[in-house]
């Protein structure tokens, strides 16, 4: 039912417009900025900033992001199963549904244990 999403669309426009319009309006309320020099530099506790900030950072962030994709897709696959599961249990076919999910989660758990042994889940 695409009609159900029309209010959401209208509300989305409203919600994006609210901060954008207030940001533009605030420009006319506040005094114009006369800042120059060190005030416009990135804050680094008073000393002159050392180099640009867009350098390299720890590889662990990338690993976490990759792991997230795997586990979140798993959650997404679980949700349709979860909302149908109640009906299956009531129809006494729940055991089959549960075993299939056990197999799916089992494969993922093997992967989890492997990651664990490799130390991918360790941070420091």
């Amino acid at each position: 039912m695409p009609g159900a999403y029309l209010p959401v669309l209208i509300y989305a426009v409203l919600v994006i417009a609210f901060p954008a319009v207030t940001l533009i309006l605030a420009k006319y309320i506040r005094p114009t900025s006369t800042s120059y020099g060190a005030k416009l530099k990135p804050y680094e506790c008073g000393i002159a900033p050392e180099g640009g900030s867009r350098g390299r950072y720890s590889v662990r962030f990338y690993i976490i992001a990759m792991l997230f994709v795997i586990f979140d897709v798993e959650t997404m696959f679980l949700i349709p199963w979860a909302i149908l599961y109640r009906g299956w249990v009531a129809a006494h076919t729940g055991l089959f549904a549960l075993v299939s999910m056990f197999v799916f989660l089992g494969i993922l758990l093997v992967g989890y244990v492997w990651l664990y042994k490799k130390g991918a889940l360790e941070w420091a």
């Binding site: 509300y11 901060p19 940001l23 605030a26 640009g52 992001a65 009906g87 889940l121 420091a124």
Partner: protein, 457 residues
């Protein structure tokens, strides 16, 4: 021209309720958030044996408005190395995602913008997670080390706890069998029990994960002031900063609403199907009367005339609310023939009361934790997420599934289903704790050799 006017009227006829809800939310949410902040400051002051804001207005009640005006007229500083467009866009994105996710939340059976969307809770979770783009882009655009670090931490943290939160939601959805918000609450009415009681481990997991997702203490590492100045918000000032602030508190309200809907029975009163507990319907008006009376008792102890006047005003407001809450429950007692007519009124008024009451309790718990617990270290945070909460939530889904099958074979329903799910929850918790204990044992053997990495996060 005629056609356009006709079309507009048709459109307004169909969608006046969601439009009104939207305008009301956008107009009042900043105010509500301001007062949530005031309540938080007052609570913090109370727990630390001081008074908190007292100067602006009686008991500091005009403080949020003063703060808002100050932030609005503050000088706007954009660092010269910043990416101007992204710097402008990031807070808007953050606030937009947070406010948009409110569209799926139902305060009562009638008050919801996206009433008929059948993916209700998935919509809320998905859209509110989009707010992370605002944080990451804002941190990247400021071109400051602290901001970038805060943004990265925030992303890693959200990503780590999103899985645990999603799994916890799955455990709740097993009982609901639907994603639609209204149907989830109706399922809890039918079964006569909150899903938070049937799946306590899932509720606990969601509680912890939602604190981490909204970057609240003790998991507020992205804005850890002792390490990162203000994290991703370091370079933002004035109104842009207040947009981030608004987004953070709106996100808190969103996660509290999701938890209330799925685990705490939404707009239902406690024990929604137990007939002999129907007197619980008189609790809300009596509570309001009690608060009003307490305010009246405190009047003579107020030092200033304006504060005395103010306390009387609060008491009056409480009595008025008590009257509003009492009408739908008293009318059927006085005249039973009107009971059917008052039913929607009861659902609306008492529904919103219970919903807001539960959300406030959840937020109070958030604040309480913030005042009580010290901040986690980043590797501890990651360890809690990946080593404890994710296995716990996966195991919990499986044992709840088994418990449901056992429950069907033994014909357990409603509260009796607890006989199956409570042992299952305990087993899940024991397995997770066992894993944690085994890990700590092996961790102690390894400790000592590991060099610390100051750029780790």
């Amino acid at each position: 021209m005629q056609a356009v006017t006709q079309g507009t009227i048709e459109f307004l006829k169909l969608y006046w309720a969601p439009l009104l809800c939207g305008v009301v939310i956008v107009a009042f949410l900043p105010l509500i958030v301001g007062y949530v902040v005031l309540v938080e400051r007052k609570l913090m002051a109370d727990m630390q044996a001081r008074l908190g804001p007292m100067r602006v207005g009686p008991h500091g009640l005009l403080q949020p408005i003063a703060d808002a005006v100050k932030l609005l007229i503050k000088e706007d500083i954009i660092p010269e190395d910043a990416d101007k467009l992204v710097f402008w866009l990031a807070p808007v994105l953050s606030v937009g995602a947070a406010l948009l996710s409110l569209a799926g939340i139902a305060i009562g059976p009638a008050f919801q913008i996206a009433k008929d969307i059948n993916i209700g809770i998935l919509f809320v979770v998905g859209v509110s997670a989009m707010g992370i783009f605002g944080i990451v882009l804002g941190g990247w655009a400021s071109n400051s080390h602290y901001s970038l670090m805060g943004a990265l931490r925030s992303a890693a943290q959200l990503v780590s706890y999103e899985t645990a939160a999603g799994m916890a939601l799955v455990s709740g959805l097993l009982f609901a069998g639907t994603l639609n918000i209204t149907s989830i609450v109706e399922a809890q009415r039918q079964q006569g029990i909150w899903f938070g009681l049937l799946a306590p481990v899932a509720f606990f997991t969601y509680l912890v994960a939602s604190i981490a997702e909204t970057n609240r203490a003790p998991f507020d590492l992205p804005e850890a002031e002792s390490e990162l100045v203000a994290g991703y918000m370091t370079e933002f000032s004035g109104f842009r900063w207040s947009l981030y602030f608004l987004a953070e508190y709106t996100n808190m309200i969103v996660v509290a609403s999701v938890a209330t809907t799925l685990f705490l029975g939404g707009w239902l009163r406690p024990f929604p199907r137990t007939q002999w507990l129907n007197f619980l319907d008189f609790l809300p008006p009596l509570l309001m009367v009690a608060i009003g009376l307490y305010c009246l008792v405190r009047v003579p102890k107020q030092p200033a005339r304006v504060q005395q006047f103010f306390m009387v005003a609060v008491a009056g407001l409480c009595f008025f609310l008590a009257l509003v809450l009492a009408v739908p429950v008293l009318v059927p007692v006085v005249n039973p023939s009107l009971a059917a007519g008052v039913k929607p009124l009861y659902e609306g008024i008492h529904g919103s009361f219970w919903f807001l009451f539960k959300v406030s309790a959840y937020l109070y718990f958030f604040m309480w934790l913030r005042f009580t617990l010290p901040r986690y270290r980043f590797d501890q945070l990651m360890r809690l997420g990946w080593h404890f909460l994710i296995p716990l939530s996966i195991i919990n889904v499986l044992v709840i599934g088994i418990a449901m099958i056992v429950g069907t074979y033994l014909h357990l329903e409603g509260w009796w289903l607890l006989l199956a799910t409570l042992p299952a929850s305990i087993i899940a918790l024991l397995i997770a704790l066992f894993i944690l204990a085994a890990e700590q044992k092996s961790g102690q053997q390894q400790a000592g050799g590991a060099a610390s990495d100051s750029y780790a996060g």
